[in-house]
Amino acid sequence: MPCLRASLLMMLLITFLLAGCGPGEIHQVSLTAGATTGSTFVAAKEPEPEPNLFYFGFDRRLDASEDVRMYVPFLRYLERTTGYRFKLRPLNRTGSVVDALGAETVHFAAIGTLSYLDAHKRYGVEALALAKTADGRAEYRALVIVRPDSPIERLWDLRDHSLALGSPSSTQGNLIPRVMLQQAGIAMSELSAFQNHSSHFETANAVLNGRFDAGAVQDTLGRELARKGLVRIVAESDPFPSSTISVVSGVPDEVVEEVRRALLAFDPTERDSEGLYNWEQSEMPLGFLPVDQDALNEVQRLAELVGLLQ
């Protein structure tokens, strides 16, 4: 009988122990007591600004989610290096990084030369560093691509053909191609059609799916697609100053200097490569270099020349 009692106690104990391993707390919620009847709900007010928290914006270059995945590890590098907190603030398709910099809802931004010149002119935004591109310099180029079976062989052949461009604020996708057409003696009106796109991806897609005969994209993306045999490069621009990391004027100087030092020390190929996501496909695959103001002035002159910078 003692064995029977012990067995019963053991089984009851096991039962209680197992019963205690169930799911957690249950919350009472009424799904019919909605605050709004629409499909959206304004959840909260704008959060109060936090000290030492800075928002980072960027020019959309690739797929939106891919841009986010690429910049988040970079921001974590800045947090580790500077000790400040950085949070990504992506803008929707219609949002403007320059306006966000002007409103200071974004404090730092990775923007192209043209966007920087616009923000500098309008809101006093300063460039902290220039992107170090694949050839080790603070320069990049724009490419004009066509499908492999396209009859277009040269830039001159674009007359009477359609051309896909990037965002109006994109240096590689809009400014440089316009300069290239102007230098080739082709007026925009001589094209059968042209259309701006929000990113280089969309521009490339427009060519690949046949909606446009040619497209103007950043050099890294164009060369990658050509290497895969998806497109053919028919024109390449002269080098232009590459993208910038810019900062609004309201950020404290010590923060600016800390970030500048972190940018110039950034080594995405070796020391700081861990955790980065497709950084080699960014416009700053080798890190950053100090700002070359003369080159920026030249770009400003060209932008004003083609009417992109008023």
């Binding site: 197992l18 605050a35 959206t40 304004v42 995945r69």
Partner: protein, 602 residues
């Protein structure tokens, strides 16, 4: 409670409890497993939905996001709701038809930036719902949540529980049935076993359990049967033992009663006969243990005039009557043709034989002690007589010889005194004669003293003393005396020498008085452990069975020799054949060894 019912009750109780515990445990395990499965699927679904919504949500295409959420809601039968939170956390796009409850976002939102997923259990109007929240993209505050109903889990869990409960119920019924059969199978033989055991417990040892099975119950029954047989044998043996002990006790009581030997043996035989159920018994005492013949000391139930037992009876024996390893006689018992005699009975008879042997020896010892006391009294009288004889002899010799010589010397001295002045020469002649008479008197006194104890024994030892004594007594009779010594030439202790001398003196006296011998040889052999003395003559000898002077017992002189030897732990053996002489052998042990002073054989 009977064993069969106990088996049924215990088995049923165990099965019921085990079934209940199993139902509870399986219910919990199934719930956990289903919950974990639902959690994994829910999180995976939420991640897939987040990937699907990432670009439109980041692009601000809320219409696309809303459309995708509703499509997801419609395609998932267990999806209760889905909603997405914009990166600025200011707008929620959802599928709930009645609007989005602010309470839901407060409960289900991801608690901090580090946490990438969350699971919450909600109790809603549509039942239990599990909310799975994932971050839209790492590093953004945008979230995607999916609410999945637990109804399928609950239904499946209920089904499993009912199935297990049903199986457990069937198991309980089957277990009760099996335990009833088992109870009958196990308890049936045990009940028969119990009945037989109770009968055996009441003393009926002729019972036997009949179980044909070869299992533990069969082994137990066989063991029980063997135990009963052994118990029966043990009781029988105990009874036999008690009977034997009673007989032994009676014999002991009889032999210690102190009656005369014949009556004691007869009573003992009577007790043995009654105890063992014998036809008869008789005891024969043997003067010589080695001889099978002897005198019948006692007999019961048997006519010794017709010793042949006949076909219906048998004789068992001889059963020795022993004491101290020495057989004093034997006992025969007369058995009936059907009287069983077991080994225990034989042992008992041997024990009775030992008891009777002991009693016999005690009685013989008493007899010998009595004889010895008689002899000691006779010896003491002889000593007194010898003293008186010695006194008479000394008085006679002093009176007949020394006193007469002294009187003659006195008369001669008186005559000499009267002649000194009258006839000096004759007086001188008288004096010469008186001197010779005085010397003769001194020799006579010396002889008297030497007869009492020769100083030669103290001065020169045993052999010269014996030689002197023999020569002194026997030379006049023309007996040739030869005294030899061998072995160690050392002196033996004084008491040994004195004892041997007195024995030898007695023997020499006997030779002088009775033997009419021509030769006497005395030999003394000494070694480290003993002294052997032999005295042999070639005289007329005597019949050992009949004393030479016709008396019934040995003469006191011969008994005195043996007594003297026995006082020192030795022995004295006398062998005599008429007309062939007599030989006396004396052995005295030397406990203290020999002395260093030597003696020679004179």
């Amino acid at each position: 409670m009977r064993l069969g019912r106990r088996i049924i009750l215990t088995t049923g109780l165990i099965v019921v409890i085990t079934g209940l515990v199993t139902v509870g445990v399986l219910h919990t395990i199934v719930s956990q497993a289903l919950g974990e499965q639902l959690d994994q699927n829910g999180l995976a679904t939420a991640r897939l939905l987040a990937n699907d919504l990432a670009n439109p949500l980041l692009d601000g295409d809320e219409l696309v996001v809303s459309r995708n959420l509703n499509r997801f809601r419609q395609e998932g039968p267990s999806v209760v709701y889905a909603y997405a939170v914009t990166p600025d956390q200011r707008r929620v796009i959802h599928t709930l038809p009645d609007g989005f409850p602010s309470q839901l976002f407060a409960i289900t939102r991801l608690p901090d930036e580090e946490q990438q997923t969350s699971i919450r259990r909600l109790e809603t109007e549509q039942g239990l719902v599990r909310d799975y929240g994932v971050r839209l993209l790492d590093g953004l505050d945008a979230e995607v949540h999916v609410g999945l109903a637990e109804v399928p889990i609950v239904a499946l869990r209920r089904g499993v529980t009912l199935l297990i409960a049903g199986l457990t119920g069937c198991g309980v019924l089957l277990a009760i049935l099996l335990s009833w059969v088992l109870g009958r199978y196990v308890a049936g033989p045990l009940e028969r076993f119990t009945a037989v055991a109770e009968t055996v417990g009441k003393g009926q040892l002729d019972q036997e359990i009949r179980v044909s099975s070869r299992d533990e119950v069969g082994d137990l029954a066989n063991s029980f049967n063997r135990m009963v047989v052994r118990l029966r044998d043990a009781i029988e043996q105990e009874r036999s033992r008690n009977r034997e002990l009673s007989a032994l006790n009676a014999v002991s009581r009889i032999v210690s009663s102190g009656e005369d030997l014949t009556g004691l043996l007869a009573q003992a035989l009577d007790e043995v006969k009654e105890a063992l159920g014998l036809q008869g018994a008789w005891i024969v005492l043997t003067p010589d243990p080695a001889s099978p013949s002897g005198e019948v000391a006692a007999a019961v139930g048997v006519d010794l005039a017709r010793p042949t037992p006949g076909p219906e009876r048998a004789v068992m024996g001889p059963i020795p009557l022993v004491s101290g390893g020495r057989s004093l006689g034997y006992m025969n018992v007369l058995l009936g043709a059907t009287t069983p005699i077991s080994s225990q009975d034989e042992e008992m008879l041997l024990g009775i034989g030992r008891q009777l042997g002991g009693a016999l020896e005690r009685m013989q010892l008493w007899q010998r002690l009595s004889d010895r006391e008689n002899r000691v009294s006779q010896l003491l009288q002889k000593v007194i007589d010898a003293q008186e004889e010695e006194r008479k002899r000394i008085a006679r010799e002093l009176h007949d010889d020394t006193s007469q010589s002294m009187a003659a010397i006195t008369v001669g001295l008186k005559a000499t005194a009267s002649l000194v002045r009258r006839d000096p020469e004759r007086a001188e002649s008288f004096l010469e004669g008186l001197k010779e008479s005085m010397a003769q008197s001194l020799r006579e006194i010396h002889n008297i003293v030497y007869d009492l104890r020769p100083t030669l024994l103290d001065d020169r030892g045993l052999v010269p003393a014996l030689h002197w004594c023999a020569s002194q007594r026997l030379s006049a009779q023309g007996v040739a005396v030869e005294v030899t010594a061998g072995g160690l030439q050392a002196r033996t202790p004084p008491q040994v020498e004195t004892t041997l001398f007195r024995i030898g003196q007695e023997a020499i006296t006997n030779v002088a008085k009775h033997a009419r011998a021509s030769n006497l040889r005395i030999s003394v052999q000494t070694d480290e452990r003993r002294v052997l003395m032999s005295i042999a003559d070639d005289g007329c000898g005597f019949d050992e069975e009949a004393a030479p002077d016709g008396r019934e017992k040995r003469p006191l002189g011969l008994m005195g020799m043996a007594e003297r030897a026995s006082l020192l732990g030795g022995s004295c053996t006398i062998r005599s054949v008429p007309r062939e002489g007599t030989r006396i052998d004396v052995e005295i042990p030397l406990e203290g060894g020999v002395r260093s002073d030597h003696h020679s054989a004179g």
